[in-house]
């Protein structure tokens, strides 16, 4: 099932609507959002995903992470000051 999320990439100027499947891994959120924002922010290899005030396990699925439609997720590139 597709899960639309509000994604916020650190360094970017706006929130984007990111579509992921509930069986996708959390790390897919990071790559999808970075690709979507690449016009404004250069993608990096490693980034963490945060939701509900905590860092999500990148190997967990979207469903396992408890993400629901229109939840907020924050992607923070690693190694960026």
């Amino acid at each position: 099932m597709l899960v639309p999320l509000h994604g916020f990439l650190q360094g970017d100027t706006l929130g984007l609507l990111v579509l992921v499947h509930d069986h996708d891994h959390v790390r897919a959120i990071a790559s999808t959002l970075q690709r979507a924002a690449s016009v404004r922010v250069a993608p990096v290899d490693r980034a963490s995903v945060f939701a509900f005030g905590r860092k999500l396990d990148p190997d967990a699925t979207v469903a396992e992470a408890g993400l629901r439609a229109l939840d907020r997720v924050d992607v923070i590139p690693e190694g960026v000051a």
Binding site: P4, H6, G7, F8, Q10, G11, D12, T13, L14, G15, L16, L17, V18, A36, A37, V39, R40, V41, A42, R68, A69, L70, D71, R72, D74
Partner: protein, 571 residues
């Protein structure tokens, strides 16, 4: 039988309105008298219409129980006549006051008529004076249009500035028309007759403000179809139009006269329109766009006049329901700020050519809003809006956040956007020393995309993913800074709602029944009502290739080529 009675001696007064005033003897009530000619009474006076207004006339008036008597009366002077003619309220006898002015339409707090009796504002004019003055102002507009309003005149302007005109032109005229409706509602349901009179005149003002830009910009449509959005904009499903309607419909179309007066006349017109109508007009003068400058100045003279309605309404509400007064000011302050940050912020800091820039948007805001609005609310006895500190912080970030987002989704709007080059970025760094370092990397990245693609390939420097929108203001989720976006979530009746900022969430939480059913772009896409594919979405927005926004120079910037050459040469 009528009994003779002594009436006060009339005064000789200067007026040309064909009305006479006769004061009633002190200690006598006006209802002891009956009219013997066309007349009406108010408080302690009779007003009698006469045929020859400039001459002293003899009119008939009698007190009950007396014989008819003749009394010499004289004309009122202008100021006295205003005081008299503006205040024509009466005590209803066929219906209750609450039926005559239902709370649902007249607004909260519902107060008895006596609470509004002292309603007073300095905006006084007669219809004849109004027509005379406005006729002269209309004449000035027509002269300007003939002299400097032809397409070739506009073609001579900097192309980025032409986008500022398109943005202004689309967002204001039909909003002004909505203000006609708001004023006319007040002309019937406002609680004081003087207020109703001023609102009637205010409606005529707003009709002018609708017609002037529609007329002027229509001349340019055949040359540039983006100018057609002067009229089209508010009728489309474009995301900016959805946001504008959400704002305009609530503030101008459906709000009751109390909320309308506080939101529109006090907050929007007293607090914010100076930014667009005075500050931006001065920018236009620097650019050499005399038509824009004179047109908005012409409009501002009306705004400054009818904006005065707001203060006496706010004072009355404040005296009886402080919490309500503060809530309305806080709410509409934030919403007005967002509107002007986009419309005026874009124009001043991005669409004004660098050689014409003087003060930044933030500097204008600090003068016209931070200082002046703060003084206005202090004078009335209100607290600053609770979101004041958030507002102060966003002066240096919000319009930068939205502009960068809009530039990289420029096809979704009806005007072109410009890529800030090294000179512009240096100017912005000087004007925004605390925040610009967060935005500069974004523009370097966008410039790099253009450098890679070369001029003309718009889509390589354009986003294709749907963006998120605030469930209150309907604008893109651009609150906060690039480091920390201020978006907030709120669960209501099993649904997740997203807001760009804490104040937007606060407004929603205050009246969820008012806002929760609105369907923004994201909900329309998810419900299958709007397409998710960008090109299809542009058509849903009402845009075609000849109207959707592009880079002003199609990516063809001399500095971009030079930078590319320097890169290759290792300089």
């Amino acid at each position: 039988m009528y009994r003779r009675t002594r009436l006060c001696k009339p005064e000789r007064l200067d007026s040309s309105r064909g009305l006479l005033r006769l004061a009633i003897e002190p200690g006598r009530r006006s209802d002891e008298f009956v009219p013997l000619s066309t007349s009406m009474h108010f408080r302690d006076v009779w007003v009698i219409r006469v045929v020859h207004p400039n001459s002293v006339r003899t009119c008939k008036l009698a007190s009950k129980g007396s014989q008819r008597r003749r009394c010499t009366m004289t004309m009122l002077d202008r100021e006295e006549w205003f005081d008299l003619a503006r205040k024509l309220d009466w005590n209803p006898t066929y219906v209750d006051e609450a039926e005559l002015f239902p709370v649902e339409v007249s607004g909260r707090p519902w107060l008895p008529g006596s609470a509004w009796r002292d309603w007073d504002e300095p905006y006084r004019t007669s219809y004849a004076e109004y027509v005379h003055d406005q006729h002269a102002k209309e004449g000035a507009i027509h002269v300007l249009r003939e002299a400097i309003g032809r397409p070739e005149d506009v073609q001579r302007l900097n192309p980025a500035w032409r986008s500022a005109i398109k943005l202004h032109a689309a967002t204001l005229p039909l909003a002004e028309f909505a203000a006609v409706v708001g004023n006319l509602r007040a002309a019937r349901f406002a609680r004081d007759s003087a207020w109703r009179t001023t609102a009637s005149i205010g409606a005529l003002d707003e009709l002018r403000h609708t017609q002037i830009p529609l007329l002027v910009n229509h001349d340019w449509v055949a040359w540039d179809p983006q100018f057609d959005w002067t009229h089209r904009f508010l009728h489309t499903e474009d995301w900016v139009a959805i946001a504008a309607r959400h704002f305009v419909d609530e503030m101008l179309l459906v709000s009751d006269p109390i909320e309308f007066a506080i939101a529109t006349n006090f907050v929007f017109e007293t607090g914010f329109t100076n930014l667009q109508f005075i500050a931006l007009a001065s920018v236009a003068r620097g650019i050499g766009d005399r038509l824009f400058e004179r047109m908005v100045e012409n409009i501002q003279t009306d705004e400054a006049r009818h904006a005065q309605i707001g203060i006496p309404v706010l004072k009355t509400v404040l005296a009886h329901d402080r919490e309500r007064a503060q809530y309305l000011v806080d709410k509409w302050f934030w919403r007005s700020w967002q509107f002007f940050a986009v419309v005026t912020g874009f124009a001043m800091d991005y669409l004004t050519p660098i050689e014409s820039r003087g003060r930044s948007f933030a500097e204008f805001v600090k003068e016209w809003i931070v200082d002046q609005f703060q003084r206005a609310i202090d004078a009335i006895g209100l607290r600053r809006p609770w979101c004041w500190d958030l507002f102060l912080a966003s002066i240096e970030t919000y319009h930068h956040m939205v502009y960068a987002s809009a530039y990289s989704h420029r096809a979704t709007v009806w005007f072109d956007l410009v890529l800030p080059g090294p000179l512009e970025r240096a100017w912005l760094a000087r004007k925004y020393p605390r925040t610009w370092n967060m935005f500069d990397p974004i523009w370097l990245r966008v410039a790099e995309r253009w450098r890679t693609s070369g001029p003309g390939l718009e889509w390589y420097a354009h986003g294709t993913t749907p963006v998120g929108f605030c469930d209150l203001c309907q604008l893109v989720l651009c609150g906060g800074t690039p480091l920390v976006n201020s978006a907030q979530t709120f669960a209501h009746e099993g649904q997740n709602y997203m807001f760009c900022s804490e104040p937007c969430r606060w407004i929603f939480e205050h009246e969820p029944q008012r806002y929760s059913k609105h369907r923004g772009v994201v909900r329309r896409i998810l419900a299958g009502e709007a397409p998710a594919n960008l090109l299809e979405l542009l058509r849903y927005f009402g845009l075609q290739e000849d109207t959707w926004g592009k880079d002003v120079h199609r990516g063809d910037y001399p500095w971009l080529v030079k930078a590319s050459y320097d890169d290759r040469e290792g300089r």
